[in-house]
Every structure is written in structure tokens, then in C-alpha cells.
Symmetry: C2
Subunit: 328 residues, 2 copies
């Protein structure tokens, strides 16, 4: 069959069928809606995330990384609620039918979906500028979802993994692109945090019942911690030296390194509130999850976020989190 | 505040807050996910639909109509399953912050959402070429959803409302645009079927338990009936003279008029299978719903769709339903 005659239905079927089954899925791809049957006593968590070519990824970025990241970023919202994924819907807008691109995209998406057991239960394909909108659905015991609310003054501020690695990876990738006329055909493994973020689903599930408050770091530490502070009606004080900076930042000058850790987006780590008296439980939890969990400060009375240097003096904060509609 | 400094968060909040409450919504806008609590014994229906500027609507089309149609088209998928809407998520991709456009868009969306009681429970705003991706969620008693499967040879093929009106409206709008240098600032009321489709939610709910098989007409009668035939393992025979052609088609020549009724997209009527012996129940049903329900043919053994003229002879079908990736 000629590529130009591949219809949207055949297109969807060719790359994405047979991946639509899972527990809680009563009906997958192929009808007007998909049908979910969450377990009794569960609430259904839902979120949507869009990635646009040129805004969120390079036009010539390997499609497998685009597929991976589109799914990972959406799942990160489920992780932040402590929800267990049920399935995902993929709304793909494509300028043309490019079977190589689609195959790669489906491979990148599919590998992560298989690893995390996230069936693709529906979607939509339209013609237009390249963009990917992913809806994820998950389940969480009624009343047990992690929220942005509920952080208490005195609670510790804890983050998983490392900070600033996605931002540093993006810088490296931009340098690579500036250096040569040929667009890089393969992903630089050092840019993995930018290309292949890992949604912290296991951590989110584990936090349920242990804390009420979590968020994922998509816009940058300060911006996302700011959301928690606003929703919880408190402030936060961080210690700059305690931030678990990504290894890529180790040879950066201290100013830009701190800025990357505080404001770099796309890390998709979780930030959560933790009772100070249970501080000792963090280490075994981190060991069990094989994921660093680092206390970076505490929630305090009042509003705003302060970042303190080693001497305890506040560091002036010029930068804020990434915001799509803020002038650069 | 300067328009250019309006952040994406403020933007979403300004136009879309206070509309996120409803039965079954445990948590609306403002956290990493929304939370739904469907009634016990219900399955959750979910679907996503994308509309892209230049593909699905004119760049200068009044934004209220864009908002209306984006929501209506997505809800039509719930109608086709017999599901009752719980809420919608709006993923908006915008090239820039245009508060007038957003206000109009929100007004068009909001009026329909209020009329049909569909809370806006979440979403995403990104920068990029104008596109709107809408995820809708609904509930339907477990096992009772209308499907594309289940049509039996001998069942009647029934459609609601009229056919070809959206296509005819689009033609009119294109003529208006071709006629003058000024883009039309207001919607021509004759183009209402194109600009302001009505999702047939009440009909969908009513059909539950009376038939197992329905689909909404988004791609055109032949294409969508074809999906039902394929899923149900049967064919269909239609009578050209029985098609309820939209009044806009009445002064069209017979060939193009038939083609518009058979292949015009975007009508968002429902097509359903109906037991022949219950034919008499259609009239009171239509009266109760204040919506025409027209028998246009029957499902038959074997595959494919035949359209018969008044003498019972098959009409050759050149056209098929609209397909985004088919060469024009």
C-alpha cells in the first residue's frame, strides 16, 4: 500500500494495536470511547499533558525519545498523586504520514508503556503541526491521593533523585547542535535526563498513607514548591548546599549550577512533605526504592521560599521556574 | 498586569475557574490530577478529540464557535456510548496570549458546558500552533455501553436529526470567504450545523437498554456506518430517498446533495441499530426527545454498504468519508 494512502485508522492500528489490555480496562481501542472499571473504593485520577514540536522537543529529535518523554511526563502527574496507572490515550497531530517516525515514536512509547504496564486505550490522529497530547488515567484509594495541600510548617521538604539534570542535558544537546551542521541522529547518553525522564510511580504509591503532600517537578523546583506552598498556605526554607545536584552540574560554576537545580524544568522527580520526627524512615525507604531521597529544607510559617547559603544567609533569587508564556 | 506577563497559570485560572464542580468530581482543577468518583456499578467512558487550526477551523473563525465545537465534538463520543458526562479536560496550545480570543473561546465552551452540565476538571496550556485537544469522561452502567459491535442483519439503520448540514454550512462559509476581502466577523446562522454541532447526549442515554449498537457521525455516514458494519460483521443497505437531508441541501443538485448526505462529516448525529419489530417505538421516542429519528435502511448479511435509488437499483459510490490523511 502506498504510504500516502495509509489512512488514519490503519495508521493507528498498525502501530498501536494489541497494547490496549490491562486490569481495569473494560474496553480498549476501537470504539467511540474506552471503558474503565476501576476497583471498588478507588477514585480515578486523570491528567493531560501536551508536547509541541519546537517548544518541547527538537524537530529532528529521535522520535523514540519523543514517544518516551510524552508518556513519561504525563505519567509523572499520576506519580505525584500516588495513583496507579490504568491506561493512556494518545492524541497525535502529524503534518504528514511518516512511517519511520511513527514506528520509532511507537517503539519509544511502547518500551516505557510495557515496562510500567500502561495500556494504550484510545486516542486520536489529526493532521497539523506536530504535537502530542497524552491523557493518563490511574486509580487511587478514595481519599488517599497525594495533594499539593496539607504541608505543615515544620514538615521536611524532600526530593527524589537529582535536580537540574534535564536542564543540563538540554544545554549539552544545544551545544552539540550548535557545533556541527549535521543534526545529531542519536541521543547523547549524557542527555538522558532530558530525553528519557522516569516517572516516579513506585515512590508515589509508597508515599500514600505516609504523607498527604506531593508534587512532581516539571516546571522547576522553585516553581513547583511554590505551588505546594500556595496550596498549603505556608512557606519554605531550603539549604542550597543540600540540593542533590545532578552529576552533570558538578563542573558548572556555582551560580549557574544552583540556578539549574532551583529552576531547571523537566526533571520529573517528586517533591514531598515529610514529618520531621519520621526523618529516620527516609533512608530505608530510599534503599527499598533504590532512589535517593534528600531532605533539602523545611516548610515554615508565612509565605514565600527562601534559599539559604552555608552560613545561613538568604541567597537572592533572580530566576523563577520555566513558564511557557513568560517573555524569555 | 501586562498581557505579556500573564502566566499560563493565571491564564487558566482567569478564564476557566469555578467551573470544575459536579457530581462525581472528587477534585477539580489545581492539582497534578483531577479525581473522579463514578457512582458504584458504573464504568468510566473516556475519549479524546483534537481540533487543529487550519485543519478543523478557520484561523479567524469566531473563537466562541471554536470553543463550542471542540467540546461538542468530544461529547459526541460519550453520546455514542450512551454515557453521561462527568467532566472534560482541555489541552490548549496557543501561539500567544490573546485575552480577547481566550475570553470568547471560554464563553463558547462555557455556554455549552453549562447547558449540558459538564465541569471543566483539568487541562494543560502550552505554546505552539493553535490546537485544542479535549478529553471527556463519562459514566455508564457496567455492561450497558452502546458499541459499534452487535448490529444484526435485519436490524434497521436509524439516524437522528439531518445529514449533510455541517458540510453544506462549510461550503456556504467558504463561499462567503471567497466573496469578500474581509474575513466574516460573525457566524452566519445558516452555517450553524458546521459551527455549533449538538452532541446527542439525551438520545444516547435513552438508547441504552433498547439497542446495543450506536456510533456518532463525525467522519460521514458511509465511513461511520462502515465502522459499525466492520465491527458487527455485517453489511448495510440504505435507501437514498430516505436519507433525512439537511434543509440547506434542498436547493442542491441531486448528485452533490446525495454525496453531502452520505459523506459529509461533522454532523455529530447518532446512527444506531434498531430491531425491526420495534419500529413503531421510534416515533414516540423521537417525539419525547424532540429530535427526528429516521429509518434509512437495514443491516444485511455479508459486508459492504449499498445505497439504492427509488427503483431499488444500487447507486455507484465514488466518495468515501472524510479521512485526514487521504490525499484530497
Amino acid at each position: 500500500m502506498s504510504e500516502r494512502l495509509l489512512s488514519e485508522f490503519e495508521l493507528i492500528h498498525r502501530f498501536f494495536t494489541g497494547r490496549d489490555r490491562g486490569p481495569g480496562i473494560a474496553l480498549g481501542v476501537g470504539d467511540d470511547c474506552s471503558l474503565l472499571a476501576p476497583r471498588r473504593g478507588q477514585e480515578l485520577a486523570v491528567s493531560v499533558d501536551t508536547m509541541v514540536c519546537g517548544t518541547h522537543f527538537f524537530e529532528d529529535q529521535p522520535a523514540a525519545a519523543v514517544g518516551h518523554k510524552a508518556l513519561a511526563a504525563a505519567l509523572s502527574d499520576l506519580a505525584a498523586m500516588g495513583a496507579e496507572p490504568l491506561g493512556a490515550l494518545l492524541a497525535l497531530t502529524l503534518p504528514r504520514v511518516d512511517t519511520d517516525w511513527l514506528q520509532e515514536f511507537a517503539a519509544g512509547w511502547g518500551a516505557l508503556a510495557e515496562q510500567l504496564r500502561v495500556p494504550l486505550i484510545g486516542g486520536d490522529t489529526t493532521r497539523g503541526p506536530l504535537a502530542i497530547s497524552v491523557t493518563v488515567l490511574g486509580q487511587v484509594p478514595a481519599g488517599a491521593a497525594l495533594r499539593r495541600t496539607g504541608a505543615q510548617p515544620g514538615n521536611l521538604v524532600v526530593v527524589s533523585g537529582s535536580l537540574g539534570g534535564a536542564f543540563a542535558g538540554l544545554q549539552l544537546e544545544q551545544q552539540r547542535r550548535a557545533a556541527g551542521p549535521e543534526p545529531p541522529a542519536v541521543e547523547d547518553s549524557r542527555c538522558k535526563r532530558f530525553f528519557r525522564p522516569e516517572p516516579r510511580l513506585a515512590l508515589g504509591r509508597t508515599l500514600r498513607g505516609r504523607t498527604r503532600t506531593a508534587i512532581d517537578l516539571s516546571d522547576g523546583l522553585l516553581a513547583d514548591l511554590g505551588h505546594v506552598c500556595t496550596a498549603s498556605g505556608c512557606g519554605a526554607r531550603l539549604n542550597a548546599d543540600d540540593l542533590p545536584r545532578d552529576p552533570l552540574l558538578h563542573d558548572w560554576p556555582s551560580g549557574p549550577s544552583l540556578a539549574a537545580a532551583l529552576s531547571g524544568g523537566d526533571d520529573y522527580e517528586l517533591l514531598f512533605a515529610w514529618p520531621a520526627r519520621q526523618r529516620g524512615e527516609l533512608r530505608p525507604l530510599a534503599a527499598a526504592l533504590q532512589l535517593p531521597l534528600t531532605v533539602i529544607g523545611e516548610f515554615v510559617d508565612g509565605g514565600g521560599i527562601q534559599v539559604l547559603d552555608a552560613s545561613g544567609a538568604p541567597i537572592p533569587l533572580a530566576q523563577r521556574g520555566f513558564d511557557h508564556f513568560r517573555p524569555d
